[in-house]
């Protein structure tokens, strides 16, 4: 048996493993692309609900998928990709919101009034609606952080209480109790404006 015949299986194994690795990586890229197609819109809406700025929300979505790209080897271990991705982008936007706390809230409200739909409304009605939304959002900002987060996530129809609990890392009963408190506080704030802090 010559040396070349002895080494041949070794190099064949190297080639096979290289091909398998490339195939595996290609499959992961395809899985990531499918996640982008399926959940980019949902993640954008979640990010926008916190950031209230289209470009900031898009940046947050981009960063979320970049994190997924870095940890794509563990994609197969994720049970629910949708909740997992929402949790990633939720943490990103909360972190960014915390850093940009010095930014005046009026900018957010003006930006919101610009992007909210106002089809079929007169100019006066549109201005009144914008004022109402701004007032509601100002009251939301006065809520305690825990109640505020639950209230904002509950506005997404596709998220159940179990999924909200998974995103926030709390129990479902905590979600329900916090939501109950948030609704009561919001009703008080909207009808009897006062400071909760």
């Amino acid at each position: 048996m010559s040396a070349s015949q002895t080494l041949n299986p070794f190099w064949m194994e190297i080639a096979d493993r290289t091909v398998q690795d490339e195939t595996r990586r290609h499959a992961k890229d395809e899985a990531l692309a499918a996640l982008v197609e399926q959940y980019a819109s949902t993640l954008y809406r979640v990010a926008f609900s916190v950031m209230r700025n289209p470009s900031d929300a898009e940046d947050a979505v981009q960063e979320a998928f970049l994190r997924v790209l870095r940890h794509r080897d563990g994609l197969g271990e994720v049970r629910d990709h949708r909740v997992w991705l929402i949790r990633i982008v939720w943490n990103i936007v909360l972190d960014r919101k915390r850093r940009a706390k010095t930014r005046p809230e009026t900018d957010d409200v003006e930006e919101l009034a610009r992007v909210l739909p106002a089809d079929g409304l007169t100019a006066e009605q549109r201005a009144a609606a914008a004022q109402h939304h701004a007032h509601v959002l100002a009251c939301v900002e006065q809520l305690p952080a825990k109640e505020r987060q639950v209230l904002m996530l509950s506005a997404f129809e596709e998220l159940s209480s179990v999924e909200i609990a998974s995103v926030l890392g709390i129990t479902e009963s905590s979600v329900r109790s916090r939501l109950f408190r948030a609704r009561n506080l919001m009703a008080d704030l909207l009808h009897y404006p006062r400071s909760l802090r």
Binding site: E13, F48, A155
Partner: protein, 184 residues
């Protein structure tokens, strides 16, 4: 209790309640459509994102992630080679370095030479300290003061420095000056 009647958390919640709690605004924000072309932009960003960091740009056949290090035989050979190199280097160093000699005990010379020189003790003998205290041959009396009725009387000498009425203290005489004889 539910966030919205549509996702089943608060089935008894009406639209009026939602309006009162301001959730209509939040739901309006949550239902805003994503901008056009968002997935394409995300794809583009992922395509230009830096891949996992590599310290060295290995050639494909010997790239660690390329597969050859995943072979058991190759890993065993690499581990054996590393062990041989480390053990050989250690043996080479050990064989070249001489062991240090044992530490000898040096005998110090006596300070006083027996034939003279230095200081002698002048015949003095060292007496060891007395360990036991003095022993009383008879017991002491209970009140030694009572046994001795004569008190100690201290007679003070008259103070000559203080002036006494009617008397004058003698003035101090100046010290006698030495007679200086002029030298011729």
């Amino acid at each position: 209790m539910n966030a919205s009647p549509r996702n089943g958390l608060f089935p008894e919640t009406s639209d009026r309640d939602l309006s009162q709690s301001g959730e209509d605004t939040l739901r309006l924000i949550a239902s805003l459509p994503a901008p056009e072309g968002l997935p394409d932009r995300v794809h583009e960003g992922l395509r230009h994102a830096p891949q996992t960091a590599r310290v060295l740009n290995w050639r494909r056949p010997i790239r660690p992630s390329g597969g050859w290090m995943q072979s058991t035989m190759a890993r065993s050979a690499a581990a054996a080679a590393i062990v041989c190199v480390v053990a050989g280097g250690g043996w080479r160093i050990y064989s070249r370095v001489q062991p240090t000699p044992a530490v000898r005990v040096l005998e110090m010379p006596s300070r006083v030479a027996p034939g003279g020189g230095g200081f002698s003790q002048a015949g003095a003998k060292r007496v060891p300290d007395t360990l036991n205290g003095p022993v009383l041959t008879h017991p002491l009396a209970d009140n030694p003061v009572a046994d001795n009725p004569e008190p100690d009387v201290v007679v003070k000498a008259p103070d000559t420095t203080r002036p006494v009425h009617g008397k004058r203290t003698p003035a101090k005489k100046p010290a006698a000056r030495p007679v200086v004889t002029p030298m011729p």
